[in-house]
Structures are given as structure tokens and as C-alpha cells.
């Protein structure tokens, strides 16, 4: 499997702990990679480094074998990009913005623009300032997808889109993937990541916390358990159960997060009278939040 994106010790230090630090990341060609993290975790900084818009304090990054800084221009022929913060184009019409960017790129056909505009239901005849936030986002998506690039770098791509057009966006991602494109999506919308991504990286306070396949992450999932006892719960015994965390006791009710095999848990409860036992799988969201606790 060939590498689409590779970073080695990539660091952008803004001081006071802000930025991204020692990022070692590999994204394979043809995969859809989700880059997860809360606001301020370093997602956009990473993306701007990959786009060559800002310079690394140390470390390096390559995309499709080219250095993101040194080879920024030839590289951009192969990248479609949606910025995290939408630009302001004032009184330009959507059609003028597209024509201008098409002129700069040189690889965007009118028919491809038309196809994406129709899919996203975006009227290019209107002035940019008259666009809603969602329409501005659609224009950004159009500029990224219409050239049919080998790599799409998308920073919070569904921001402002209604559910209908979010589905259309997923369709665009699926189509891009089907023709062999690699897609790097930064997001904090976990359902979106679950929807389209093969692998996920989670970034926390400027550091990569974990990277894994979605199903691997699912394997990391714990169970949220809730036990109601007929009498006072055996708190000491329960707290000693290996794999049981975040134990909370309220009257006869005990709750917590449990990872691992259930046998020790059941054994610990063997001599107690349990009136209710509930166990459910945690969502990806709870796993995600687990990294921030």
C-alpha cells in the first residue's frame, strides 16, 4: 500500500502549548482518514502545515511523495482543499469565483463544475455575500471536488450543511474514493467520521493520542454498566474488580465503565442480590470523550 500523507515529528509551536507537536502520521492512498479532535486541539494547524500555508517549527511532511513546503505548487495540482474558515469574497458572484480559481488551477472543467454545482444545488449566479453559510460551504466543496484531485484535504467540511446536503457530501466522498482518491477529513462530528472514514486519528492538546481502524477503535470500546442491588452494595469488592472504572455509588445503585472480560465482574456479584443489571456498548463519541478526561 503506498503512502498518500506522511509526517515525521511535524511540529508547529505557537508557544503556551498551542500548536501541534511531534506528529507522526501515515495516511495510505485510497483511504478515507478522519482526523478528530475538539476545538483548539491542532487539527487546522496540521492541515495548514500539510497545505504549505504555514511553516513547520520542526519535522517534515510529504504528500504523494512530495515535500509539502518545497513542492507546494506541483502538489496543489493534486489536492482539493476545503478551509476550516471560509474566505470572504464580498460582491463577487459564485460563477466569477469559480472562474478565477479555475484559471489559477487550470484543471477544472466547466462540465465538472456544473455536475458538482447541480449535486449540491448551488446557484453560481448569486453574489457571494448573498450566500448563506451553508451555500458558502457548498462553494468551498465545489472548488475542492470539481478538479477531481488525487487527494482531498477537508477541514470541517460539513459545517453549515443541512442533513440533505450532508448526505450529498457523503456521496461525493464515496465517489471520490471509488475513483481512487485519498481523503483526509478533520472533524469533531463523530457520526460523520463513522459514516465515511476507514481510519481515525485522535488529536489532543496538540499531540496525536491514537490512530486506528474504526473497527479497532470499536474494540477499545468499554461497556457502560449499571447495577441495582436489593441491599447496600458491596462497594469495596466492586471497586476491586479489574477493568471497572469511573465507579459511582448512589444508594443501592452502582454505575461505571467496564473494559475486559465479564467473568471477574460476575464473580464479584455472585453473593449479592442484584435486582437490575444493565450493560450497553459505548459509542464512538464516548471513546472520543474518554481521551479528553
Amino acid at each position: 500500500m503506498t503512502t498518500a500523507i506522511q509526517t515525521k515529528g511535524l511540529t508547529k509551536d505557537y508557544g503556551a502549548g498551542h500548536g501541534i507537536f511531534d506528529l507522526d502520521l501515515t495516511v495510505n492512498e485510497g483511504e478515507v482518514f478522519g482526523f478528530l479532535g475538539p476545538n483548539g486541539a491542532g487539527k487546522t494547524t496540521t492541515i495548514k502545515l500539510l497545505m504549505g500555508l504555514i511553516h513547520a517549527t520542526k519535522g517534515s511532511a510529504t504528500i504523494l511523495g512530495l515535500d509539502v513546503d518545497r513542492d507546494a505548487v506541483p502538489l496543489k495540482h493534486r489536492i482539493g482543499y476545503v478551509p476550516g474558515e471560509l474566505p470572504q469574497f464580498g460582491g463577487w458572484r459564485g460563477s466569477e469565483i469559480v472562474a478565477y480559481i479555475a484559471g489559477l488551477r487550470g484543471d477544472m472543467t466547466d462540465s465538472a463544475v456544473e455536475a458538482v454545482a447541480k449535486r449540491l444545488d448551488l446557484d453560481l449566479g448569486r453574489k457571494y455575500r448573498e450566500y448563506s453559510h451553508g451555500n458558502k460551504q457548498k462553494l468551498a466543496l465545489l472548488l475542492a471536488f470539481a478538479p477531481m484531485p488525487a487527494l482531498l484535504i477537508l477541514d470541517e467540511p460539513t459545517s453549515g450543511l443541512d442533513p440533505l446536503h450532508q448526505q450529498e457530501f457523503y456521496g461525493l466522498v464515496r465517489d471520490a474514493r471509488a475513483r481512487g482518491a485519498t481523503i483526509f477529513i478533520s472533524s469533531h462530528v463523530l457520526s460523520e467520521v463513522e459514516h465515511v472514514c476507514d481510519r481515525v486519528g485522535i488529536v489532543r492538546e496538540g499531540h496525536l493520542a491514537t490512530v486506528g481502524q474504526l473497527d479497532q477503535l470499536a474494540g477499545m470500546r468499554a461497556h457502560r454498566i449499571e447495577i441495582v442491588f436489593a441491599g447496600p452494595p458491596p462497594v469495596e469488592r466492586i471497586r476491586a474488580i479489574p477493568g471497572l472504572e469511573q465507579v459511582a455509588v448512589e444508594d443501592h445503585r452502582v454505575s461505571g465503565m467496564f473494559r475486559g472480560e465479564f467473568e471477574p465482574l460476575l464473580a464479584a456479584l455472585a453473593n449479592s442480590r442484584v435486582t437490575k443489571f444493565e450493560s450497553r456498548e459505548t459509542s464512538l463519541e464516548e471513546i472520543f470523550l474518554g481521551f479528553y478526561k
Partner: protein, 541 residues
């Protein structure tokens, strides 16, 4: 933070810049008068006679002269007449900023969502500007009076305050007018353009009347005329109450109409909407081929703006050329040494020379200001995400720099060609014979000045986007004054030569290829620095 404090805060840069620039000008003029006017009554009389002759020829720019043998008279003519133009320019920008700029940045929505009423928003913005303008004018007058005191001729405080009041009311009037215009269009840039053209026209109306053109009662429409009705610092002069009251009442009325319009219109929309657009949806990119052409794409995006500049300068060019004969004839056979020195140094010997000196010196300043506006746009490209979008295409940072500078030169070429054509046609129609070859050369030689300013401007934008405009603007204005008043006040050569405009020389009289070459070298050096700085900087920070 209260809305009023926010309003004060939004004008703090303007306060700082005007207080600094205008105060420095006031101080320099007051100290300068003490140095050049002489100490004895006879020396003062000679100075006043010389200045009056000059002043009579500068009525297109400055108020009519009076009592030029006194500090108060000289400052009223030479400085307060100029200062009020700077305040008017500031008020114009502040008015459109308050009326549209905040809205473009989404701040109006934010403030309205806090429960503030639209009426209160504009009331507070107007009150905030009025307070800040009062502070700026008070500081300027105080500093000027310090200069007058250094020159042993302090200005009386009461009349000085009344002079300040007259300037303040005019400043407020321009702010109110710009605030109203901002309700009619949807962009700050559009509002600034329209309000700027109208204010310039009103200024020119008064200037034409001052220069002897019979404009009749229409003159009363010009706020500059109403301002000049008052001369409280002159012996026997006073604040003319009806004129000042008319400006004050006019300001209040304009603000009230602006508020009413603001209440009535949609946020983000103009007061009056045109017919609804055809419902046909466009799916394809624009077919405009210029948008896909390097350099011309940038020019094309600004076509309306460039045409407005070209037409505005053409009108100004025609006006200045039309009064050339009157002015040169008035000077006639002047044998006053200081004027002769001024004319010799400026190379003015005939009508054609006068056109060369007056028109091209004005054009150089205005073209520089056009470049300053472009530099402001480059800083905004970065702050508003457009540069990020451009660089996400396969475009090198070097290309961005080179294209921007080239686009400025092309735009300047259009503006210079249009205005020079206006000069040529007006000159021909008034019987002034301009040497065609020299005139074309002098017009073309403006472009290296624009190039030098662009190069420096781009280097500054790459270094510190937020201060680039202020530094470049100061470079243009200080350079202009150094060139214009250096010969008049017999400042040392190094002062006048410090100006970039000195390198332009007097191409209507003689060739100065070394100056032109130096300007091009400065442009190349600035562009080279810009390329390096642009390469190294982080976009959007």
C-alpha cells in the same frame, strides 16, 4: 463593555493617526512660520505679500488668504484649511465603517442580538465618533498652539476653540453623510467610493468658487464653503453662527435619516432594492476570459473601482488644467525672490511647465494613494482568507506577489492614461500647447513611482500587514509635503530629496533618467524583499 466604549474603541486607530499626523503638521507650520516670516513689521509685510500672491494661485486647494503677516492668519490659511481635508477623509472612512464595515464583519448582527436597538447602535456610533473627533481636534489645536507659543505668537484660546468647533462640525457632517450613503449600498468599499466622489465634488465646488468661477448660490451646498465662512482667529473675524449651525443641523439630520434608513432596511441589504433577479439558476463558471488570465484577472475584479478612480482623476485633471492660464498670468512677472526661487526650483516657466508641475505633483500623490488602497486590499486578502484560497491552487507565493504588483501597475496605467488624456484635451481647448513627447514621457514616468510604492507596500504587507497601510500612507503624504513646501520654505535639499517623488523630477522640463532608474530599482528591491518575506511567512497570521 458598553456600546459606547465599543464605539470609542473602533475609532482609536483613526484618533491616533489623525492626532499624530495633523498635530505634527500644525506644530511644523507654526514653528516654520516663526522661522521664515521675519521679526520686523516690514519683513512680515514682505512675507505676507509674497505668500498672498502664492496663496491666490492655490485657491483650488487652500482657503483664501488673509492676514498672512500674523501667525493666526498664516495658520488659518496654510494649515487649518489642509487639516480639515484630513479630518474629512477620516470622517468619510469612519462613517462608512460604522455604517457598513461593522456589518460586513458580522458585528452588527452580534450587537443587535444582544438586545441593542438599531437606533441606539447608530446613535452610539455617531456619538463615539463625535467624541473621538473632538479629542483629536483638541489635541491638534493644543499642539499647534504650542508651536505658536514657541514662535512667540501664541494663539488666543477662545478663538482657537471656536476654530476647533468649526472643524469639528464639518468633520461630523462628512461622517454623517458617509453614514447615510452606507445605508444605500451593500459594501463599505462602494459606500466609500460614492461618498468620496460626492465629498470631492463638494470640495471642488467650493474650490472653483474660490478660484473665480461663478457657481452662484450652489456654493452654499458645499460644507467646505460653510466651514470657510468662519475665521475666528483672524482680527475682526468670528465664528459665523448660521453657517456652523447649518452644518450642525445638517449633521444631525443626516444621522437621523441614516438611522431611519438603517431601521427600515435589511441587515446586509441596501435601503432600496432593485427588481428581483431572474430566477434562472447558473451552474457554470463565468465566461469572462479575463478572470482566467494572469494579472488581468486581478484588474478585472476591480474594474469598477479603477474606472471610478480614472474618471475622478480625469475630472480633477480637467479642472486644474482649466485654471492654468489664470494662475500663471496672475504670477506674470513676479520678481519676489521666494516665489522666483519656488518657480525656478519647480521648473515653471510657461503654461506647459505649470501643468507639468501642478498636475503631475497632484497625480503622483493620488496614484500613491491608489497604491496604498491596493496594499490595504492585500492585507485584507490575508486576513479574510482569500490568500489561503488562492494558495490552495497550484500558485506559488512568488506569483502572487508579482501578479499583484503587475496588476497595480496596469491599473495605474489606465488611470494615468485617462487623466492625462483629460489634461491634454483641456489644454488644447484652452489654447495651451503641451509638448506631446514630453507630456507622454511625463505621464509614463508616473508608473515607476507607482511601481516603487507597490514594491515597498508589498514588502511591508509581508512584514506587518496591519501597519503597512499607515507606513505607506505616511510615506506618500510626507513625501508630497516635502516636495511641495521644501522650495517654498527653503528647506534644505535633503528634506525635499527624502521624498520618493523627488526621483520623478520634472520630466516636462528635462529628462532625469537616473531618477526613473532609481525608482525602478526601488520597485525591484521592494518586490525582492516582498518575495522573500512572503516565502517565509505563515498565511493568515
Amino acid at each position: 463593555m458598553t456600546l459606547f466604549r465599543l464605539a470609542l474603541r473602533s475609532h482609536r486607530t483613526g484618533l491616533l493617526m489623525t492626532a499624530l499626523v495633523v498635530s505634527a503638521g500644525g506644530l511644523l507650520n507654526a514653528v516654520g512660520f516663526a522661522q521664515i516670516a521675519g521679526d520686523t513689521p516690514s519683513a512680515r509685510a514682505v512675507f505676507a505679500q509674497q505668500m498672498e500672491l502664492l496663496a491666490r494661485q492655490l485657491t483650488y486647494l487652500l482657503p483664501a488668504p488673509a492676514q498672512l503677516d500674523t501667525m493666526a492668519g498664516y495658520l488659518t490659511w496654510r494649515w487649518f484649511g489642509s487639516a480639515v481635508l484630513i479630518y474629512a477623509f477620516w470622517a468619510l472612512l469612519a462613517g462608512t465603517g460604522a455604517g457598513r464595515g461593522d456589518e460586513e464583519r458580522g458585528l452588527i448582527e452580534l450587537w443587535l442580538s444582544t438586545g441593542a436597538s438599531r437606533m441606539r447602535l447608530l446613535e452610539v456610533r455617531a456619538a463615539g465618533f463625535a467624541a473621538i473627533a473632538a479629542v483629536s481636534i483638541a489635541v491638534m489645536l493644543a499642539v499647534t498652539d504650542v508651536g505658536a507659543a514657541i514662535g512667540q505668537e501664541p494663539l488666543p484660546l477662545g478663538p482657537l476653540a471656536l476654530e476647533g468647533l468649526a472643524m469639528w462640525v464639518l468633520t461630523l457632517f462628512v461622517f454623517a453623510f458617509a453614514l447615510l450613503v452606507a445605508q444605500l449600498v451593500t459594501t463599505r468599499r462602494g459606500a466609500t467610493g460614492i461618498a468620496g466622489i460626492v465629498v470631492l465634488a463638494l470640495f471642488m465646488l467650493n474650490a472653483a468658487a474660490r478660484s473665480g468661477v461663478d457657481v452662484g448660490a450652489v456654493r452654499w451646498l458645499s460644507p467646505f464653503y460653510l466651514f470657510e465662512r468662519s475665521a475666528p482667529l483672524l482680527r475682526g473675524g468670528s465664528l459665523e453662527f448660521p453657517a456652523t449651525a447649518a452644518l450642525a443641523v445638517g449633521s444631525v439630520l443626516l444621522i437621523a435619516i441614516a438611522i431611519a434608513a438603517f431601521i427600515r432596511r435589511d441587515i446586509g441589504g441596501p435601503l432600496l432594492r432593485g427588481a428581483p433577479r431572474s430566477s434562472r439558476v447558473a451552474w457554470r463558471p463565468s465566461a469572462d476570459p479575463l478572470l482566467r488570465t494572469p494579472v488581468l484577472a486581478i484588474v478585472d475584479q476591480q474594474r469598477i473601482w479603477i474606472v471610478a478612480w480614472a474618471l475622478g482623476l480625469a475630472v480633477l485633471a480637467a479642472f486644474l488644467t482649466s485654471i492654468t492660464k489664470v494662475m500663471v498670468d496672475a504670477f506674470g512677472n513676479s520678481d519676489i525672490p521666494i516665489l522666483r526661487a519656488y518657480f525656478e526650483r519647480a521648473g515653471i516657466n510657461a503654461y506647459a511647465d505649470f501643468v507639468g508641475v501642478i498636475w503631475f505633483s497632484t497625480l503622483l500623490l493620488l496614484i500613491s494613494l491608489f497604491v496604498v488602497v491596493q496594499v490595504n486590499g492585500w492585507a485584507a486578502d490575508d486576513a479574510e482568507g482569500r490568500l489561503e484560497t488562492i494558495l490552495s491552487a497550484p500558485v506559488s507565493r512568488a506569483r502572487v506577489v508579482v501578479e499583484r504588483v503587475a496588476a497595480v501597475v496596469v491599473a495605474c496605467a489606465v488611470i494615468v492614461a485617462t487623466s492625462s488624456l483629460a489634461v491634454y484635451l483641456t489644454a488644447t481647448s484652452t489654447g495651451i500647447s503641451l509638448p506631446a513627447g514630453r507630456f507622454v514621457f511625463a505621464s509614463a514616468a508616473v508608473l515607476p513611482v507607482a511601481y516603487a510604492f507597490s514594491g515597498i507596500g508589498h514588502a511591508l504587507v509581508g512584514w506587518r500587514p496591519r501597519v503597512a497601510v499607515a507606513i505607506l500612507g505616511a510615506l506618500a503624504i510626507v513625501g508630497y509635503f516635502a516636495q511641495q513646501f521644501g522650495p517654498l520654505f527653503q528647506w534644505p535639499d535633503w528634506v525635499t530629496n527624502i521624498s520618493l517623488y523627488a526621483l520623478y523630477g520634472t520630466p516636462m522640463s528635462k529628462d532625469d533618467w537616473s531618477g526613473i532608474a532609481t525608482l525602478i530599482v526601488i520597485g525591484i528591491a521592494g518586490t525582492a524583499v516582498a518575495l522573500v518575506v512572503m516565502r517565509r511567512r505563515d498565511v493568515g497570521r
